[in-house]
Symmetry: C2
Subunit: 342 residues, 2 copies
DNA sequence: GATTGGGACTTTACCGGTTGAGAAAGCGCT
DNA sequence: AGCGCTTTCTCAACCGGTAAAGTCCCAATC
């Protein structure tokens, strides 16, 4: 059916011009009369021609694909609302630039570093977004060595000299603890994310510091893998301690674990927020769907993704605004937090 | 830093052979001695060379990228566990073939059809996965006209002559209704997904049919946009009817809406499952995190994605197993369903 | 000893664009 | 008329690979 592929040559022939002229027209470059330009576009339309992006990028023009490799176990991603929302924010900006996203799940950072190298050398991408930084992240060196345009999603202390966009997690954690302390809580726990992640470390340190001052009667931290199951397990273990060693408030590192925590509390016969207060993180739609609704540190993840994508375009064109933080998550009180009973 | 890009020519020079020889070596084609092959690989390694995939695909070799365009409002995707899990299943197979996924969110099917055309003509993809079919879907014609290798995720009645992989939604819906009827429910409602979607229509029809026979005292269906808010609204409206007009069991089209329904019931002072039974769909981790846990029609979404990807490779290489259904979702009873209290 | 066959490479012609160096034509100016 | 300048296009050389056809050389066969 498909009459063998139509190329720039066919269009040129039909419009009665050379290949070069067609190229000029389609890249909106000067040097063609309005009439010719019009004739070329008409011919292209009639033949249903669209420039072959592969050939175009081989010939040196920019590549309109940006890469995103995510390094978390596949099964966990399914439920983590963060990523899809982040990706959809990224997409919203890419679409404006007729750009697509090349997505790949990888097993570890070494694999990701290798992937970036082959994507870049293979001219598959024009730039990339890097997420989930760890201490001494190998990707920093790779990106710099390759000269690959990237935006690093993470605190500058983790991302070396790369252009980065980050949330001020330390301040947010401190605010969360301060809020719970203000409600009267003196025994506060935190169910954190994967210990290897840089931002987890930052939050952990900030919690330590804040809790030392504000939760004199006890502070606990548990590391998890971000899954609901892990959140449930952590919550169960925290809440099963005898009363004086039991926290009256728990902060979670994402929404899923908070939801899991909520149901563990119910299962243990504890009332939320009377017996224990729970505070979620990210504030996806999920927080408004539970009963009681979940208080959360809320965060415009979609906007975050969009900001990152915009910054990446800045880096690619060489005139970006550079590194900057996005707004710090703000506390959104709902039904799952209250002063401790008595 | 990056010494100006290293190409196949540099490798050839270093190994003391021609470009052609390097190409043969890297594609594992016969016609080279072991010694030369080894020398070439060593040279490539020393120079840190990786073949330029763009050039390779221009030259006619196959493209190692598959496309996936999703046509749902960005904000909704964030929370829908289905997609991320589906994507992660697809990825798991693509990775084995060193293949990447080109992802794009589109606003409507016309846009998607156009995108597929330019991806294909631009040699950006070697094939594509099509999801969310609607009646008279324009993508069927486009894929056929272009000769684009695709796998359609949807019932053959919707996907025309395309190779398709589908779940038997009609049977699953019927099983759900039958289960609730067996528990003793006679007034059953269904909170369905987007009406425009083909599989929603199939489920709606199947529910109609099953309910006519098994829920003589009343059957209701509501269409939503799959969001938690819509699920909550629908549930509130169903449950606020006076007792004889109120369903004693509700089936949802995804997990999020079921979670929302659960909290609406709680907020209205209704006990689940005593006053109303709820049945979720897809069975993501979420169903095990609520209290009570959600009974669900459970579905290996990850495996579904993997199966689709495998089928696509079959289509691309021209020797696939062709269209086939994946296992029908099976009922997983948990805490949210029980016989109605008299 | 000439012929055949085939392994190991090299040559060369693309793939479908982009790009910079001209070339032809039109125009104003001296 | 001759000269320089634009404007509008054409030409040909890439970009970095692949693949078919061609070259060489040497062992096996008649």
């Amino acid at each position: 059916m498909t009459a063998s592929r139509v190329t720039i040559k066919d269009v040129a022939a039909r419009a009665g011009v050379s290949k070069g002229a067609v190229s000029l027209a389609f890249n909106h470059k000067p040097g063609l009369s309005e009439a010719t330009r019009e004739r070329i576009f008409r011919a292209a339309r009639e033949l249903g021609w669209a420039p072959n992006l592969t050939a175009r990028s081989l010939a040196g023009a920019r590549v309109d694909v940006v890469g995103l490799a995510i390094c978390r176990p596949a099964r966990m991603l399914g439920l983590e609302p963060f990523y899809m929302e982040f990706v959809s924010g990224v997409e919203s900006v890419l679409t404006e630039h007729s750009c697509s996203l090349l997505l790949r799940l990888v097993r570890n950072l070494q694999q990701e570093a290798g992937l970036l190298e082959s994507w870049w050398k293979g001219r598959q991408i024009g730039g990339s977004i890097l997420v989930d930084f760890q201490a001494d992240d190998p990707r920093v060196a790779v990106a710099e060595r390759l000269g690959l345009p990237v935006v690093a999603v993470g605190h500058p202390s983790l991302t070396g000299g790369l252009t980065s966009v980050w949330t001020d997690d330390a301040t947010a954690v401190t605010e969360a603890v301060r809020y719970l302390a203000a409600l009267g809580h003196r025994r506060i726990a935190r169910v954190g994310g994967a210990a290897a992640l840089g931002h987890t470390a930052i939050r952990t340190a900030a919690f330590d510091e804040a809790a030392r001052a504000l939760a004199p009667a006890g502070a606990w931290q548990v590391a998890t893998d971000f899954s609901g199951e892990a959140g449930a397990r952590a919550t169960r273990s925290l809440l099963s301690a005898a009363a004086p060693d039991r926290p009256t408030a728990i902060v979670y590192d994402n929404d899923i674990m908070a939801v899991a925590g909520l149901s563990v509390a119910a299962e243990m016969g504890l009332k939320v927020p009377d017996d224990v207060s729970l505070l979620a993180w990210d504030d996806s739609q999920l927080c408004r769907l539970t009963h009681p609704t979940l208080s959360a540190m809320s965060h415009d993840v979609h906007g975050f993704g969009a900001d990152v994508a915009r910054t990446l375009f800045g880096v690619i064109t060489g005139e970006g605004p550079g590194s900057h933080p996005v707004p710090t998550p703000v506390l959104t009180p709902r039904g799952s937090t209250a002063p401790p009973s008595r």
